[in-house]
């Protein structure tokens, strides 16, 4: 299981090795509505530009009040950590993320950059046409850049590879519904994150093997079942902290988690339209949930399906989208008597403070107090 965490830690080396091996281009994407299939069909390796905290003395020159993941992404790009990326694509979405794209574009010019418009009004009959048109523009730009046509066969293959990946990840998430799941929340999170930076065909092989292993694995035991909701996270530290206190995050509703793979592309002759419908039909993140509210209901349904005891809502500071959506999510959870813990975080998690909140929350959820008896044996005081 640790291999997925390793994979994320060494994602830069992985991408560089992939480039050396295949001679292909790596395209970095910022926003979750990026149609990875197009890049994959063009022979590229699409990787999500993940945030990771490093000492940051650079971004303040360019940015003000941006959320920390965005700052960390810019920091990494300007420091050259993502220099192997040949092109950046962003999709209309979070404005801070757009800022990251823009600062990167202005200061670390990649050979290829593209801004893709995706309507906030996702449900209009014309929305799918706009997205299809935008995908066509991107396809054309990829073709011009690589000098190679993206054939129907390549697109079909990409759609199938991605669908398979989504199905496999859904299988893994299904295992988490068990009373005593075969895997921990942190492990699942690392699998999904690794999936966003790896070649999907390779990842699919690993996942198939993993599923076999999981069938025989000893369950992790009876723990407090929690759900994680909120701003994007880029590591499994919060999940690990929950586990250290006797809980297990059994389901998430994160853009970097379940929402990434939840729905498939249903093939049709017009491949771009099929992709358009897939992306417009995915579980919406707050900004694309601008019309009728689907997201709170989706959160509720997941919480029911996974029998959670409580919900953790962790919002990144300065995340204005979740800062706006929380109202509706809180309202629904309150109406349905689902306890939740809300707190703010940034890329780095303040462990002491978060631990205190989590522990109090779990004590609130379970009858009888959690007592860390014998804790001092493990500490050198």
């Amino acid at each position: 299981m640790d291999k997925f965490k390793e994979m994320i830690a060494h994602r830069h080396e992985y991408a560089k090795a992939w480039k050396a091996r295949t001679g292909g281009k790596v395209v970095g994407w910022f926003e979750p509505y990026f149609p990875e299939e197009l890049a994959y069909a063009a022979g590229m390796l699409p990787v999500r530009v993940l945030a990771e905290h490093e000492t940051d003395v650079i971004t303040d020159k360019w940015m003000y009040a941006a959320c920390y993941p965005v700052r960390d992404i810019v920091n990494l790009i300007l420091r050259g950590r993502y220099d192997y990326i040949d092109g950046y694509v962003t999709v209309e979405g979070c404005q801070w993320m757009f800022n990251a794209f823009e600062v990167a574009d202005n200061n670390k010019k990649a050979p290829f950059t593209h801004y893709l418009f995706l309507p906030d009004y996702t449900d209009a009959p014309t929305s799918k046409d706009v997205v299809r048109s935008e995908f066509e523009v991107l396809k054309g730009k990829f073709e011009a850049w690589t000098g190679k046509e993206i054939t129907k066969e390549a697109l079909d293959n990409a759609i199938e590879v991605y669908n398979k990946n989504r199905r496999l990840l859904r299988c893994i998430y299904e295992l988490r519904r068990a009373d005593s799941p075969a895997l921990l929340g942190s492990e699942a999170m690392n699998i999904v994150l690794a999936s966003q930076v790896m070649d999907k065909a390779e990842m699919n092989q690993i996942l198939e093997k993993l599923l076999d292993e999981l069938e025989d694995r000893k369950p992790v035991g009876d723990k407090i079942r929690l759900m994680l909701v909120g701003s994007e996270t880029f590591d499994s530290r919060l999940e690990e902290l929950v586990e250290s206190l006797g809980g297990n995050i059994v389901i998430d509703e994160l853009d970097t988690g379940s929402s990434y793979f939840w729905n498939e592309t249903y093939p049709q002759r017009d491949r771009l339209m099929a992709l358009s419908l897939r992306y417009l039909g995915r579980p919406h993140n707050p900004i694309k949930d601008s019309n009728w509210r689907r997201r709170p209901q989706h959160i509720f349904e997941l919480s029911e399906d996974y029998h959670v005891d409580g919900v953790i809502i962790a919002k990144q500071i300065y995340c204005h989208l979740h800062g706006t959506d929380n109202y509706a999510v809180w309202k629904l959870l309150r109406e349905r008597n689902i306890p939740f813990l809300f707190f703010e975080r940034d890329t780095g998690l303040p462990e002491e403070d978060t631990e205190l909140r989590l522990e109090a929350f779990m004590n609130m959820l379970r009858p009888g107090l959690t007592r860390l008896v014998g804790w001092h044996k493990a500490m050198s005081l």
Binding site: K61, W62, M63, Y64, A65, A66, E92, C94, Q95, W96, F98, N99, E102, V103, D105, N106, Y115, F117, P119, D120, Y121, D123, A124, P125, T126, S127, D129, V130, R132, S133, E134, V137, P286, I287, D289, S290, N291, W292, R293, K315, I317, Y318, C319, H320, L321, H322, G323, T324, D325, N326, Y327, A328, V329, W330, K331, F342
Partner: protein, 434 residues
């Protein structure tokens, strides 16, 4: 005042502006019409429904802060405790807080909204905040979109965007006819496009005179009294048009006769965004240095500084049907994005010169004061980069920090004034004796 160079006198149209603003304010509170919550800039068809009034969240929210800090604070707390983040735009915290509380700053009941068209602006996810009206009670909601892209004009790329935009607007109109039993007046819509064009020409002329005349015949301090009249705060169309002609004529007369907004003008500066509405008095503070503010691309009614050919009303393209009119009025949003934020995305390197540099040059400015709003994403991103570009282009720039124009929370007034002193002194300016 010593060092007085030019004659100055108060604006005569100011009283009229005050009257019209009061009329708008009174209209919001009235319940004589079907009230829609939306952005009147995008819902520009409203006059064709005589029984409908659109209230816009931004000016209504800023009015709350301008009128009463304690009430605005209470409103924002009412939003915060229901889950709204503290980094959310103060305009929305104020207006929705007032809705949560159920009353306005005068203690009158919060006027009921009968439908909502969330503000479809890429600036700072306004559309999401518009959902609040629908969350509060199940009223009809119609969505729209502000489509944009980066790079050179691409008509193929615009085609689907324009269709989408036209669909959204036509659907709003058709549904409102159905839901509220109202008749949309197609001829009125065409008439509004004509009069809107005249209004825009007036605004454009005022901005040109303001920018290109030394001394400036009007400063943004006065402009703030009425720049939202018409496109954001809707009043009677004919009164509105008469008013803008009146302003234009007066400014023209002032420019021709060298009547200055500030008699001691010797430093011209621009902004990129409105200041905190409770602290407009800092413009007067700057006037002690002989520094006059020409506003921002946000307040400027002129797109001339962009150097882009203006979209004008096509005399040779008759607008015969509702659809013609809607397509005509909607498509410029995709063709020549008019929102101030889109300007900044698109008019910047590598797509051209920074729009703020163009604006500074057009206004013959010496410097720029750029706010950094902690709670205003759309108003803040790109700002630091723009400052760097402005400095490279030879303009002096000062940043100051605050929450958002509708939220006075983080504006440290003393510190701000100290910064202004330092800035002015760094430019070799001393306070003039009064």
């Amino acid at each position: 005042m010593k060092e007085q160079v030019w004659e100055t006198r108060p604006l005569e149209c100011w009283a009229k502006a005050k009257e019209l603003r009061a009329e708008w304010q009174a209209n919001i509170a009235k319940d004589d019409k079907i009230v829609g919550q939306g952005n009147t800039y995008f819902v520009d068809w409203q006059e064709a429904f005589p029984a409908i009034r659109i209230v816009e969240d931004n000016p209504a929210g800023s009015m709350i802060q301008a009128k009463s800090s304690p009430f605005a604070r209470k409103c924002r707390l009412a939003s915060e405790i229901r889950g709204w983040g503290r980094e959310i735009c103060g305009y929305h915290g104020n207006i929705w807080g007032s809705q949560f509380l159920g009353y306005d700053e005068n203690g009158a009941p919060f006027a009921r909204r009968h439908f909502v068209v969330p503000f479809p602006c890429v600036c700072d996810s306004h559309a999401k905040r518009g959902q609040q009206v629908r969350d509060f009670e199940p009223v009809p909601q119609w969505m729209s979109d502000q489509c944009m892209y980066l790079g050179p004009r691409d008509e193929d790329r615009e085609e689907a965007m324009n269709e989408h935009k036209a669909y959204c607007t036509l659907r709003q109109i058709n549904d409102i006819e159905r839901v509220f039993g109202q008749k949309f007046d197609d001829e009125k819509m065409v008439e509004m496009i004509h009069s809107g064009h005249v209004e825009r020409e007036c605004r454009s002329e005022i901005s040109r005179l303001m920018a290109q005349t030394v001394p400036a015949p009007i400063s943004v301090k006065d402009m703030y009294s009425f720049y939202t009249l018409g496109f954001l705060t809707r009043i009677d169309p004919q009164k509105n048009l008469d008013f803008w002609k009146l302003v234009r004529d007066e400014i023209k007369w002032r420019a021709e006769n060298h009547i200055a907004a500030l008699g001691t003008e010797r430093f011209r500066w621009i902004e990129a965004h409105p200041p905190s509405w409770h602290f407009l008095k800092y413009y007067r503070y700057m006037e002690q240095y002989g520094a006059v503010c020409l506003g921002s691309q946000y307040t400027s009614g002129s797109g001339d500084y962009k150097g882009i050919e203006r979209v004008t009303y096509p005399e040779d393209t008759p607008l015969l049907t509702r659809e013609d009119a809607i397509r005509y009025s909607d498509t410029p949003n995709a063709r020549e994005p008019v929102g101030f934020k889109q300007d900044e995305y698109m008019n910047r390197p590598p797509y051209g010169e920074d729009v703020l540099i163009k604006f500074a040059r057009y206004n013959q400015a010496n410097g720029a004061l750029l706010a950094l709003w902690r709670c205003g994403v759309g108003c803040t991103l790109t700002r630091k980069e723009q400052a760097m570009r402005l400095r490279e282009a030879g303009f002096s720039v000062l940043h100051y920090e605050g929450s958002q124009p509708g939220d006075r929370t983080d504006l440290d007034e003393k510190r701000f004034l100290n910064q202004l002193d330092n800035w002015m002194e760094s430019q070799g300016m001393q306070k003039l004796e009064s």
